[in-house]
Symmetry: D3
Subunit: 313 residues, 6 copies
C-alpha cells in the first residue's frame, strides 16, 4: 500500500491510505445522506464522494483522520474523483505529518537560506528582536502553511513564501538605495508569524477563536511589543517601524490593515507579499491547464481567468 494519489488513473479500483483533510455532509434530492471528503497525501489531494454511506457511519469519519479508502477512480469534469465503497479508520499510530503535502524545498534548505539572510542583519536593535522572535517560533515556522487555501497551502508553505520574499527583498534593496535592507528583511520575516497563533496547526489547519476575533496582524503586533518590552527596546524607533510594517502589510483597510504603509519598507513589504503570492497562485492555476486554454476564474486574482500561451521560450 505504497501507492500515492498522484499515481491513480481513471477507471482504477483500488485501496489507498490517506488523510481526510476536509469532510462535509450532503443530502441527495431523494433525501439520502452522503459524505464528501478531500483525500490528501504528500503527493497532493483528490475529491471523494461516499454515496451509499450506512446511516450508522455518518458521524464516524472526521477531518484529520487517517483512513484506508477503497473504491473507484473516475473522471468527473476533467478531474479525477474517488468514489468510496468502504472506509476503514487506521487504528495503528500514524503521524498525520507524513500525509502532508510537500513543498518544493526541504525544511533544511529553507532553514539554511533563511538563517543566512537573518544573520546578515547589522542593526543592533533589529538583530536582538529578530533573534528573540526566531528562538521562540522557529519550530512552528518551518511547518505552517502560508494560507489555508489560495497560495503556499502546503507544509512549510509559510517559510517558502518568506524565503521567496527575502530573495525579492535583497534584490530590491540593492536596486533602490532608499530602502533599509535590515528593516525590510526584518519586516518580511515577521509579517505573517501571527498565523502561527491564528491557525490551529500545521497539518489540517482551522481558525482559532482568538484568530477570528483578533486576526494574525493584531495578534503578532502585540506579541512583538511584548517581546521588545522584555528586551528593553520597546521605545526604539526600529520596533515601532516593524510593528507598523506588520500592521500595514495588507496594504488596504478592506483586507484588515488598520494603518496603511507610511515608510518605503512597508510599501515594498506589501508589494512583494502580493507579488510572491500571486506568482504561486498563477503557477498552480496554469499547471492545471492545457496550452492554448483559459483557466477557470481565480478568486485571488480578482476573479480573472488566465490564458496559458503556446509560444515556446
Amino acid at each position: 500500500m505504497n501507492k500515492l494519489l498522484r499515481d491513480l488513473t481513471d477507471g482504477e479500483r483500488t485501496t489507498i491510505r490517506v488523510l481526510l483533510s476536509s469532510r462535509s455532509r450532503g443530502v441527495t434530492a431523494k433525501g439520502a445522506p452522503y459524505l464528501s471528503f478531500v483525500l490528501q497525501d504528500k503527493s497532493g489531494t483528490m475529491d471523494a464522494k461516499y454515496w451509499n454511506v450506512p446511516e450508522s457511519a455518518l458521524e464516524l469519519y472526521q477531518a484529520g483522520m487517517i483512513v484506508d479508502a477503497s473504491g473507484d477512480v473516475l473522471s468527473h469534469n476533467h478531474q479525477l474523483q474517488f468514489r468510496i465503497k468502504q472506509l476503514d479508520i487506521v487504528e495503528e499510530t500514524v503521524e498525520a505529518r507524513s500525509f502532508a503535502q510537500e513543498g518544493p524545498l526541504s525544511v533544511e534548505v529553507l532553514r539554511e537560506r533563511i538563517e543566512a539572510c537573518l544573520e546578515n542583519i547589522q542593526n543592533e536593535n533589529l538583530k536582538r528582536l529578530i533573534d528573540a522572535v526566531y528562538e521562540k517560533y522557529r519550530s512552528d515556522f518551518y511547518e505552517y502553511p502560508a494560507a489555508t487555501k489560495n497560495h503556499h497551502d502546503f507544509v512549510g508553505g509559510l517559510a517558502t513564501h518568506v524565503l521567496g520574499m527575502l530573495d525579492l527583498a535583497e534584490m530590491l534593496a540593492a536596486q533602490y538605495p532608499i530602502l533599509n535592507r535590515d528593516l525590510l528583511v526584518s519586516g518580511v520575516f515577521l509579517h505573517d508569524l501571527g498565523k502561527l497563533q491564528e491557525l490551529s496547526g500545521a497539518i489540517v489547519p482551522s481558525y482559532t477563536m482568538e484568530g477570528r476575533l483578533l486576526g494574525h496582524i493584531s495578534l503578532f503586533q502585540a506579541e512583538v511589543a511584548k517581546i521588545a518590552a522584555s528586551l528593553g527596546i520597546e521605545d526604539c524607533e526600529e520596533v515601532t517601524l516593524v510593528r507598523h510594517m506588520i500592521l500595514s502589510h495588507h496594504g488596504v483597510y478592506e483586507y484588515g490593515s488598520p494603518v496603511l504603509p507610511m515608510i518605503p519598507e512597508a510599501e515594498v513589504l506589501h508589494l512583494i507579499d502580493n507579488l510572491d503570492a500571486r506568482m504561486n497562485t498563477i503557477e498552480k492555476a496554469l499547471n492545471a491547464t492545457e496550452e492554448g486554454a483559459f483557466t477557470p476564474r481565480i478568486f485571488a486574482l480578482e476573479n480573472r481567468s488566465l490564458y496559458k500561451s503556446k509560444i515556446k521560450k
Copy 2:
C-alpha cells in the same frame, strides 16, 4: 485682564491673555506674509489674523504659547474675528492648563460617576484588568479630549464621552438581556484609551509618531495584552473579548478597525460610540445656528446640513 473671549463684542479694541492653540503662515496676493491663529481660553476659541506682522517676528510665535493679544474685534462672515495689532509673549510662569476649554462637567463629577460604574463590575477577570488599567491611566484619562476636532474636543472630553456612553450602556444592558453588562462597561472604558498614547498631550494635542504609524486602536490593544499578561490572565476569554472590542469599535475597515464586531457587546459599543459622538457634534452645530435656518455642511455627518426647527417643545 480678566476678560474672556466669550465676553468680546464686535467693534471692541482690547488686550486679552490667551493661549495660541494653532498657528499658520499665509501670504497675501501682494506677496506680504501674515499669520493666522486660533486664540483659546477656558471660555472658548476665536480666529485671529495678524496682517502686518513685522518680518522679524514671523517665526516668533508658536502654537502652545501664552500671549497678551492687542487689537480689534470685528465681525467676519457672521463670526467674530480678532485683528491683532500687537502680540506679547507672556514671560511669567502661566499654566497652559488654565486656558483649556472646559466641558460641561467638572473632573470631580466625572470621576465620581465613572468610578461608581466601574466599581460595579462583578466579573473577576474584568475587575482585575480594569483596576490595573485605571490605576495606570487615571490621571491622563480625565484630562484628554476625545478628539482633536469634531466632538468632545475640550479638556476632559474623553472622560465626558466615556461617561455619556456608560449611561447608554447601562440603559441598553437593562433593556436587552442578551448583553453582558460587565463586558460592555469594560469595553466602553477601554475603547479609546489609546488616544492617551496617540496624542501628544491634553492641551494643544498633536499626533505622535507612534500614533500616526500604529494608531490608538493597535497601541491600546497591545497594551491590554501586556497588562493582562502581567496579571496572568492573558488567556482568559474575557481578555480576548475586550481586545476584540477595542479593535472592532470603529465598526468598518475604512475607519481603521482590522476586525468587525463579532459579539453583541462589540456591536453595541460601536453603535453607542457613534451615537454619543453624533449627539455632541449635532449639539455644537445647532447651538451656532438660528432657528429656521440650516447649518453649514458637517463633515462628521457625511457632509449633511442640519435644520434647526422653530417648533417649541
Copy 3:
C-alpha cells in the same frame, strides 16, 4: 392533536396541524418533482419536504392553507426537518391567525404601553396628527410583523419593534436635551406604518404591487400629507418634520431614503431603528448557537458571523 412544532423530536413519526407559510416546487436530479414547505404554528416554524408527492397533488397545496401533516421528524444539518408522507387540507373553518408565531409581549401589553407613550405628547399639532393616524391604523398596527424576515418577523412584530424604539426614544430624550421628545416619539410611531400598505397581510405576508412600485416610505409619507390636509395642519412645520423623518429613516440613499436625516430627531430615529432591529437579529442568531461557537454569516449584519461567548455574567 394539540402538539406544537417546538415539541417535536428527532426520529418522531407524527401528525400535526400547521399553517403552510411558504411553498415551492423543486425537481430532483432524476427529474422527479417534489414540494418544499415551511410549516408554522404559534410556537415557531419548521422546514418540510414532500419527496414522493403524487403528480395529481402537485398544484393542490398553496401557502396560507391549514393542513394536517403526517410524516417523520429527522435531523438535517443540525436542524429538525419534517419529511411529509401525507398532507390533508383542513376543510373545517380554522383561523390562520391561530397559527401565527407569537412575540414575547401580548397585544394588551403592547397597546397599553404604546398608548401611554403617545398620550404623553404635548405638542398640539403632533397630538392631532398622531391621534388621527392611530385611530385609522390601530387594528392592523398590533397585528403586522416588522419585516418578512430578519427581525421581528412575528405577529405583533411591528408594534413590538415600535415599543422597543419608544423605550429608547424616552431614554435618549432624557439624556440629550437637544432632542424634542414629542417629535421623536411621533416619528417612531409613524416611521414604518407604510408596511401596513406595503404588505398583503399580517399572517402570510407578501409584497403588494403598490408596495413594490412605491415602497412603504413613500406610501406613508403621502398618507401623512393627506391626513394632515384633512386636519388643516398640512403647512405646519411639525408635519413637514415628521414627513421628513419618515422619508429619511433608512439613513442612506441605498436603502431607499430619498433624503437623509437633517434634524436631530431624524438622525436618532434612524439610529434606534437600526439598534433595535440589530438587537433582535442578534438575539435570534445567538439563541440558535452553542456557547463557544460562531453563528453562520448573517446577511442583515453585513454578512458577519457572531461569536457566542462562554463567560458568565
Copy 4:
C-alpha cells in the same frame, strides 16, 4: 439705458440696469471687505466685483434687487467682468420678470405644443389626472427653470425641458411598440413639477425649507396621490404607475429615487430626462469654447472635458 449685458465690450465704462441674481461677501488678503455679484438681464449674466465698497453699504445690496450699476467692463480669464464703481438701487416699480434670462422658445410656443401633446391622451384616468394637475399648476409651469444651474436654467426652462422630452417620448413610443404612449407622456409632464414647490420662485430661485427636507420627488408624489383621491381614482393602476414614474425618474438611489424604474415607461422617462438635460449642458459648454479646444471639466458630465471638433458638417 436700453443697453443689455451681451452688448458690453472689453474696456467699456458704462451704467447698466440689471438684476442682482446672486450676492456674496468676501474679504481681501489685506482684510478689506468686498462684494461679488452675478448681474443678470434677459440677454444673459455677467460676474461683477465691487472692490472698494463703503463699510456702510456692505449690507445694503441683496440678491433679487434691481440696480443701476456703474463701472468698467474688463476681460478676466477670457471672460468679461464688471468692476463696479457705484451701485444705485432702483426705487421705481420694476418687474424682476423683465430681467429674467430668456430661453429659445416663447411661452406661447411652449404652451401650444405642450397642450397639443397632452390633449392627445386617450386613457380616461390619465386624462382626468393630467387635466386636474395642469389646471392647478399651469401658470407657474411656464415660468420656472428646470434647475438652478447646470441645464435649462432660464425662465421657462422647465417647460422647455419638458417639451424636448415630449418630442423624444413621441418618437420612442412610435419606434418601440412596448411603450404605452399616454403613460409615457403623462410621466414626462408630471416628473419634475415638484420643483414648483421645491424652489422659491421662477426668477431668483432658492430652495425652500420643505424642498430641502422633503425633495421635489416626494413632494409631488404626495400631491398626485392627493389630487387623484379628490378625483376618486386613487386606486387605479394608472395613478400608481405615474406615482412610480415620478419616484423612480432619477434612476438610481444616490440621486434621490427611493425606488428604481420597474416599468418600461419609467425606464424611458429616466433615460430621456438624462438625454435632454445632457444635450442642453453640452450645448452650453461647447458654445463657450473655440473649435479645436477642450472645455473645462463639467461637473454634470462626471467631470469630463469635451472637445469641440473642427470638422464641418
Copy 5:
C-alpha cells in the same frame, strides 16, 4: 418532420430536428451522469435533459451539431422542457444556418435601410472610410448577433441593433443641432463591428482567444486605424473622432472603455446604444410575463424586476 420548437405542447411525445446550441454535462446526486442541452431552430429555443444517457454516448454530442431528438415535452417551472429519449446525429449535409433564430426583419430589409442611411453621408473622409469598412465586413455584418445573450441574440441581431440606433441617431440629429449627423451615423455603424472578430461565428458563437485578450473595442479601433492608413486619411480629425467613439461607447471604464465620451456624438452614441439594447431586453422579458405580474430579476437591468401593467393603451 417540419415541426418547429414553438409548435410543441405539454405532454407531447415527438421527434424533431434541431441544432444543439449549447451542451453541458452534469451528475445526479446518486452519481449518474446526464447531459443538458439548449435545442434551437429558427422559431426559438428549448431546454432539454438527457437523463439516462448511455456511458458510451457521453462525449458524442457537441454544441453546433444538428440532431433528430426524440422524447417527451413536459412543463417544468412554467416552461416547456424536452426530456430526451434518443438523439440521432444527422449525417446528411444540413446548414446550421437554417436553424438559426430569426429576427423581426429580413436581411434584405436591414440591408436596404442601413445602406440608405450610410449613402447619405456627405463628409468626404467619413464617406471613404465607411465605404471601405462596409465593403470588407458587409457579409458577416448581416449575420452576427449583437451579443451572445441579453439583447439581440439572434442571426442578424447586430444589424438589427445598428438599424434601431440609426433611426434614433437620425431623430436626435434633427432635434439637437449641436450634433454632426454624419459623424454620429458613422460611429453607430462602426461601434460594434469588432464583434465580428471577437466572436467565433454567427450561429453558435463563442469568444475567440483574440476576443478575450484584446476585446472588440480595441480590435476594431486598431482596424479602423489600419484601414484609414491605407486610404491615406489616418491623420484626419474625422478618423480620430470615430476611433474615439469606438473606444468610448461603453461609457464607463468598468465596462471596458479606456476613454470616456468627450464629443457630443460619442455621448449620444453611448446613450442610444444603451437605450436600444435596454428596449430589446425589456421587450423579451415582458413578452414572457403575464399582465399584472413581475418578471424575474434581470441582470442586464441592474438586477431589477419589471412589472407588466394591465392598463390598455
Copy 6:
C-alpha cells in the same frame, strides 16, 4: 551667467537664464493681475511670481520661452521662491533642450544597457517586432519623460523607467520559471511608447488632441498591430500577447485598461510598472523631507504621507 537654480539661496538678488516650463495668470484680491511661473534649468525647478507685471506685458511670456529672470530669492513655506522684478526674453538661438532637467543616467548609459537587454531576445517573432519598433522610435524614446508629473518627469525619464523595469524583469524571470523572459522584456519595452504620441514633446510636454481622445494605451496598441501587419506577423500569438500586455498594463479598468492582465507576463508587467514608479515617487518625496518628519500627502500614493525614519543602516 552660469549660475543654476539649485545654487540660489534665500535673500539673494540675481539674474538667471531659465526656461519657463509653465505659466498661469492670477488676479489679486484687489483686482491686480499677476503671473505665476515654474522656472526650470537642468539642475531643477523653482516657483516664481511676477507681482507687478505691466499690463502691456501680461500676454508676452509663454511656457516654453527662454528668459533672463531678474529678482529676489525668498523663502516661502520652507521652499525658495523667485520674485521677479524683470523678465527679458532671450532673442538669440538657445536650445530648450539645454534647460531640461537631467536624470541620474546619461543617454549613452541608458542606450547601452537597454540595447543589451533587447538584443538578448531569442524569440524570432518578438525579435522582429521589437527591432522594427526600436528603429522607428529610438530617437524620441531616449528623450521623453515617463510622465508629466509624479514620477520620472525629466528628460530621458521614460527610458530610465524602462531600464529600471527591465532590471526587475530579468530578476523575476530568473526567480519564477513560469515567466517567459522574452515576452516580459518585450512588454516592458513597448508598454508606454504611446506616450511619444500622447505628449507634444520631450521638453515642455502637454497632451495632444489625439492623446486625450484616444490615450497612449490605445494609440500604441494600434501602432503595434500596424507594424506587425507590415512584417506579416500580425496573426502570431506573440503579437496578440504583447498587444494584450500594452492594453492591460494599468491593471484596473479605472486607470484606462480596457482588459485586465490574463497572462503571467501581463500581471508582472503591471506590478513592476507600479513598483518602479512608486519607488521613484517615494524617493523624490523623502529627499525633500527631514529625518523624523512626515511628507505632505502624496496623491500618487493614495494620498498617504510618508515618514522618514532616523535609524541608520
